[in-house]
C-alpha cells in the first residue's frame, strides 16, 4: 500500500511520520505538497503535526484553504483512510471533515508529555491491533488540544462509537485529573461517522521505536497495514 504525508508550510511532523512509514513499517510513502491535488495513487494519507501557517488566526484555519484540502475532502468521501495528527486533527476539524474544534489548553500552556490513552473502539481501520479498554502510551505536544464540541454532536459521537481514544490514568480511569488539556470527556482522538478518518492530538509517530521509550504508536500504524492487507484480496 502507499502512504502520503501532506506538507503545509509550517508542518514539522512530516519527516517523523515519513520515517515511521518507510523505516519502521517498510512501506511505500511520498510527501504531498499542499499545492498538489492528485491523490489517486495513495491508499492512506497522513496530515501530520506542526504549526501550519504558524497557527495564526486559529490552528488549521488557513491550511484548510490549501489546494490539497479539496482533494482530501474527496478522498475522505471515497472512504479512504486519513489520519490527522495534532495540527492535522486541527485542520480536519476546521475543514469540517471531522466534527468539533480544538481550542487552547485549559492552563494556557503548551504541554509536551506522555499520556495514557484508553482505547474505546477496536473495530476500526486504526485500532484493530488494540484490545478494547487497553491503555496505550502516546505523547502529546500541543498548546491547543482542548477538544470542544456541542452536546448534541457529543451524544452523536458517543452513540456512533466515534471516540477512539480518551486520556486516562495508567489503569484506564478517565477522570479530570488525567485530562491534560481540558478536552470534553477527555477526548484525545475521534473518527468520522464512516470510520475512515481519524483525528488525534497525541503523536503516535513518536512511539514507534524502542530506543525512544515506547512502541505503542505501531499499534495504530500497524492497524492500518492490517486493514489494508486484509482488504487487498478484494
Amino acid at each position: 500500500m502507499k502512504f502520503g504525508v501532506v506538507v503545509f508550510p509550517g508542518t514539522w511532523s512530516d519527516v517523523d511520520c515519513f520515517h515511521v512509514i518507510k523505516d519502521c513499517l517498510d512501506q511505500d510513502v511520498e510527501y504531498i505538497w499542499h499545492k498538489d491535488t492528485d491523490l489517486s495513487k495513495f491508499d492512506c494519507i497522513i496530515l501530520p503535526g506542526g504549526f501550519s501557517y504558524g497557527d495564526y488566526l486559529r490552528c488549521g484555519a488557513i491550511a484548510k484553504f490549501s489546494p490539497v484540502m479539496e482533494s482530501i475532502k474527496e478522498f475522505s468521501e471515497k472512504g479512504k483512510a486519513i489520519i490527522g495528527i495534532c495540527n492535522g486533527f486541527q485542520i480536519l476539524c476546521e475543514s469540517g471533515i471531522l466534527p468539533g474544534v480544538l481550542i487552547r489548553n485549559r492552563d494556557l500552556k503548551f504541554r509536551c508529555e506522555m499520556t495514557n490513552l484508553l482505547v474505546q473502539n477496536t473495530d476500526t481501520v486504526f485500532t484493530n491491533r488494540c484490545d478494547l479498554d487497553q491503555v496505550i502510551q502516546v505523547p502529546i505536544s500541543h498548546g491547543e488540544g482542548n477538544y470542544f464540541v456541542d452536546n448534541d454532536t457529543l451524544n452523536e459521537l458517543e452513540k456512533n462509537n466515534q471516540i477512539l481514544f480518551s486520556y486516562s490514568s495508567s489503569i484506564g480511569e478517565v477522570s479530570e485529573i488525567n485530562n491534560p488539556n481540558g478536552s470534553v470527556m477527555n477526548i484525545a482522538g475521534i473518527v468520522n461517522q464512516k470510520g475512515n478518518v481519524l483525528g488525534m492530538m497525541p503523536h503516535p509517530e513518536r512511539v514507534c521505536d524502542p530506543i525512544l521509550g515506547g512502541t505503542d504508536g505501531l499499534k495504530i500504524f500497524g492497524s492500518i497495514l492490517d486493514h489494508f492487507s486484509d482488504s487487498v484480496s478484494f
Partner: protein, 735 residues
C-alpha cells in the same frame, strides 16, 4: 567636526574612535557611514574588549573542519561524512526589556546562525538566570522568557532538549537568556558566509525590513540596563512561522549546491551581514537600498541598512543560478529580492536609486579598535574567597528539614514545569529527554548519538573566576560523560558586567583563561561563542557567568545511560572518592552555604587529573553495558544526587553508610568530580576492576529499594514524599 557629542553617544562611539575613523578614512564620514561604524565598531560586532582575550582559545584542532572565528561556528567532523556545528548566544538585554519577544528572537537568531552554515538544526538548549523567583517582577520575566522560548521554538519543529535555570540575587533586573542550537550537516553541504566571486548577486530573503531594532548592536548591547528602559522600541518581534519557512527553503537551496555564500542578518542587520560576507571573501559589495523591500513606509537609507528586523538571510548567488534558486523560494512563497552585487573593489558601497550614499573600505569597517585593559580583583571577593569555612556551625535545624530545604530550593527543584512546555521529542531522535544530566539525541541512519549539556555555576565564578570557569567546563563535560558520550567540543557564552571596570575585566580575563585551559585538558576545542557585557543594574554587575555548552559523541546509541535508578536491589556506588566525609571547605560556593547560612564564601577547587579519569571510567563502564544509572553530583551535593536518581526512577534507596557528626558536609558539600552510579550486583567485580585499572577511588553507598528512601537515621521516608516536594516547588512558587 560634523557630528556633535550626542550623535556619537547615540552610536556608542567615543571621540577617540571618531578621530581614528576619520584618520583611517582620510575624510569625515557622512551620517550613513557613521552609522556603519557605530554598529561594526561596537562590542557586539567588533568585540572590542573581548577579542584580545578570546585569542587564548586554541583554534586549531584536527577534529575541526572549520575553526572558530572563521565562520559563525566551528565545524566538527564526526565521521561517516557527517559534521556538527553548534553555538550559544545571549539575548539578555532584549529579554530584560520584553521577556517574551526577547527570548523568542534569541532562539530565532541562534537557529539562523546554524542553518546559515547549511546544517539542519537538531536541538535547542537554554541557559536561563533570574533574580529570586518569589519576587513578582522575576516571576513575570521567568514566565515571559519560558513562553517566548516555548512559542517560538515549538513552532520550528526543533526539539528543545535541555539547559539550566538558576535564581540568584545577582540577576535581579538583569536576567540572562542564553540560547544554544546544534546542527548536523553532510560535510559537502557546508556553506560559508563568503561573498563568492565578483559579479555574484546578493539575494535578500525573508521578512520585509522595518524600523525594528535600529541601534540594537551599538545601543542595547553596549549600555547598562538602566539606560535601556528608554530603548524599548529597539526590541524586535519574532515570526516563528516565517523562520520555519526560511529554514526549509534555505536548506533546500543549499542542498541544490548553488550557493556561494550565506549569512544570517543578526546584530546590525544588513550592514554586518554584507560586510562580513565581503570581508570573508576578500571582496566588496554594492547594495542599492531602494531595492530592499520594506515593511514600513518612510524609512531612510540609514534605517534600512541598520534595521534588525528578524527572519532575514543574505545569499550570494552566481547569476546563472538565480532563476533556479528563486524558483525554490517561490515554491515556499517567501520574499526574495536581488539587492546588489559582489564587487572586486573592496568597498562597502551603498546606493539609493543609483545615487552613491556611502562608500567605505571594508578593511576599515572590520578593523574595530581593540582595548586591552588591566584587570584588578575586587578586595571584597578576595576576602570572601579567603574566608575559612572551618568554623561553619552545624545547622540548628534537623537533617530532614535541611534536606527538604535543599530539595525544594528553586535552584535544585525539578524543571519539569519548564521543559514540558518545550517540545523535546519532535524529529523523533530524543533518546534521553531533559530532566537528567545531559540529553541525548540519535542521528538517524547511523549508530551515533549526540549528548548535550549547558553548565555554569556563577557562585564558583564569583569566588574564583579562573577555577569557576574550569569547573563549568568540567561539569558540562561530566554531564556528557554520564550518558556514555565523549565530549568533543564546547561553546561558551560569557555574561559579564561592564568590562571597563577593572574588577569586571579581571573576571572576564580569568574566566577565558579557565575555559581555554580546561578545553585543552578535555581536547574539546571551543568552536564558537558569544560575549554579553554591560550586564549591570544600578551600577552593580551580575556575578560573572561563563556558560559552557558541551556536545559529546556516542558511537553506539544502544550503549547509553540515564540518571534514573532502574531496578530494586541494584547496588549504588559513588565514584571519584573513597569516603563521603568531607572537609568543611567543600561548602565553598555551595547551595547549602547560601541557603542555610546565607553566605557565598570559600575557595572552590577541582582536581583535574581526577576529573579526567572519572569521566573516562564512566564512559568505559557505560560502553561495557555495566551501569543502570550514572548521575553527576553537583548543586546540593551527595544527598540531592541520590534523591534525584531515586525520584527520576520512582525507586527508593537505602543507605548502608554511617554519617559522622558533620552530616551536613557529607550530605550537602559540593566536592567536584563525583558521580553516583547504580548497577546489577553481578556486575560488581567487573566494575571494581575497571575502577582499579583507572586508579579511580569509589565508595559503596547502598542499594536501590522499591519505595523506602533512607539516607540516614533521620532521613527515612517514602519516595512519593520527596518526589512530591521536588516536583511541585517551582510550580507552587509561580502560582
Amino acid at each position: 567636526m560634523r557630528f556633535d557629542e550626542q550623535t556619537l553617544k547615540n552610536l556608542s562611539l567615543t571621540q577617540y574612535e571618531y578621530d581614528l575613523l576619520v584618520e583611517k578614512l582620510g575624510r569625515e564620514p557622512n551620517y550613513i557611514e557613521l552609522g556603519l561604524f557605530g554598529s561594526l565598531w561596537s562590542e557586539h560586532c567588533g568585540y572590542q574588549h573581548s577579542k584580545p582575550l578570546l585569542k587564548k582559545f586554541q583554534s586549531d584542532n584536527p577534529k575541526l573542519l572549520v575553526s572558530a572565528g572563521e565562520e559563525n561556528a566551528g565545524v566538527v567532523d564526526i565521521g561517516d561524512g557527517d559534521a556538527i556545528v553548534f553555538k550559544i548566544e545571549s539575548h539578555n538585554h532584549p529579554s530584560a526589556i520584553e521577556p517574551y519577544e526577547g527570548a523568542a528572537t534569541g532562539v530565532g537568531g541562534i537557529v539562523r546562525d546554524i542553518f546559515a552554515m547549511g546544517a539542519r538544526p537538531v536541538a535547542l538548549l537554554n541557559s536561563l538566570r533570574f533574580g529570586p523567583i518569589h519576587v513578582e517582577r522575576n516571576k513575570y520575566l521567568f514566565d515571559g522568557v519560558v513562553s517566548g522560548i516555548s512559542n517560538y521554538g515549538n513552532c520550528l519543529g526543533i526539539p528543545n532538549i535541555g539547559g539550566e535555570i538558576y535564581f540568584s540575587d545577582s540577576y535581579t533586573g538583569n536576567p540572562l537568556v542564553n540560547a544554544m542550537c546544534i546542527g548536523v550537516l553532510k560535510i559537502e553541504e557546508l556553506v560559508k558566509s563568503s561573498s563568492g566571486p565578483a559579479g555574484n548577486l546578493l539575494l535578500l530573503v525573508g521578512s520585509g525590513t522595518g524600523k525594528d531594532g535600529i541601534h540594537g548592536a551599538s545601543g542595547l548591547a553596549s549600555n547598562t540596563f538602566d539606560e535601556e528602559q528608554e530603548l524599548r522600541p529597539t526590541v524586535q518581534v519574532g515570526n516563528p512561522f516565517l523562520e520555519k519557512i526560511l529554514i526549509e527553503s534555505c536548506l533546500e537551496v543549499v542542498a541544490s549546491g548553488r550557493v556561494d555564500g550565506l549569512q544570517d542578518l543578526g546584530a546590525a542587520g544588513l550592514t554586518s551581514a554584507s560586510v562580513e560576507c565581503a570581508a570573508n571573501g576578500n571582496m566588496g559589495f554594492e547594495i542599492d537600498v531602494s531595492l530592499i523591500p520594506r515593511r514600513e513606509s518612510g524609512m531612510e537609507a540609514y534605517e534600512v541598512m541598520l534595521s534588525e528586523t528578524q527572519e532575514r538571510m543574505l545569499f550570494s548567488i552566481s547569476p546563472e543560478n538565480l532563476d533556479y534558486v528563486c524558483s525554490i523560494f517561490e515554491k515556499w512563497d517567501i520574499n526574495h529580492d536581488v539587492i546588489g552585487k559582489v564587487t572586486s573593489r573592496e568597498y562597502a558601497t551603498i546606493l539609493e536609486n543609483g545615487k552613491l550614499i556611502a562608500d567605505v573600505p571594508i578593511n576599515i569597517l572590520t578593523d574595530a579598535p581593540l582595548y586591552t585593559l588591566e584587570g584588578v580583583e575586587s578586595r571584597d571577593i578576595i576576602k570572601a574567597r579567603e574566608t575559612s569555612l572551618e568554623n561553619i556551625p552545624l545547622p540548628q535545624e534537623s537533617q530532614m528539614r535541611v534536606f527538604f530545604k535543599l530539595l525544594s530550593s528553586a535552584n535544585i527543584a525539578s524543571r519539569e514545569y519548564v521543559y514540558t512546555q518545550y517540545d523535546h521529542q519532535v524529529q523523533t531522535n530524543t533518546v534521553i529527554p531533559p530532566g537528567g544530566d545531559a540529553s541525548l539525541i540519535r542521528i538517524k541512519g547511523t549508530q551515533k548519538a549526540l549528548a548535550a549539556s549547558t553548565d555554569g555555576n556563577s557562585r564558583f565564578s564569583y569566588l574564583d573566576p579562573y577555577i569557576g570557569a574550569k569547573i563549568a567546563v568540567a561539569e558540562a563535560c561530566r554531564n556528557i560523560s554520564c550518558t556514555g558520550a565523549e565530549p568533543i567540543a564546547i561553546t561558551n557564552c560569557l555574561n559579564f558586567g561592564n568590562p571597563q571596570k577593572p574588577e569586571v575585566y579581571y573576571q572576564l580575563d580569568k574566566s577565558v583563561s579557565g575555559i581555554s585551559d580546561m578545553s585543552l585538558e578535555f581536547n574539546a576545542p571551543v568552536i564558537s561563542g558569544n560575549v554579553s557585557l554591560y550586564n549591570e543594574t544600578q551600577d552593580s554587575a551580575i556575578f560573572p557567568t561563563p556558560v559552557i555548552g558541551a556536545v559529546g559523541l556516542l558511537q553506539n546509541v544502544e550503549n547509553h545511560c540515564g540518571s534514573a535508578f532502574e531496578n530494586q536491589n541494584d547496588l549504588v556506588f559513588l565514584l571519584g572518592t573513597n569516603t563521603i566525609d568531607l572537609n568543611l571547605e567543600y561548602f565553598a560556593g555551595s547551595e547549602f552555604l547560601e541557603l542555610i547560612h546565607n553566605k557565598i564564601e570559600g575557595s572552590p577547587e577541582i582536581n583535574i587529573a581526577l576529573e579526567i579519569i572519572l569521566q573516562k571510567t564512566c564512559r568505559e563502564l557505560i560502553a561495557s553495558n555495566l551501569l543502570n544509572s550514572c548521575h553527576d553530583c553537583s548543586e546540593g551535593g551527595l544527598a540531592i544526587a541520590i534523591a534525584e536518581s531515586a525520584i527520576l526512577g520512582n525507586k527508593g534507596f537505602v543507605a548502608n553508610f554511617e554519617l559522622n557528626e558533620r552530616w551536613d558536609s557529607a550530605l550537602f558539600g559540593e566536592k567536584q568530580s563525583r558521580v553516583v552510579i547504580s548497577f546489577h550486583p553481578s556486575n560488581l567485580d567487573e566494575i571494581l576492576s575497571i575502577c582499579n585499572r583507572f586508579s579511580l577511588p569509589f565508595f559503596e553507598l547502598g542499594k536501590v529499594s522499591s519505595n523506602r528512601f533512607k539516607m540516614s537515621e533521620f532521613i527515612d521516608l517514602n519516595i512519593e514524599e520527596i518526589s512530591n516536594v521536588w516536583k511541585t516547588t517551582l510550580l507552587n512558587e509561580l502560582n
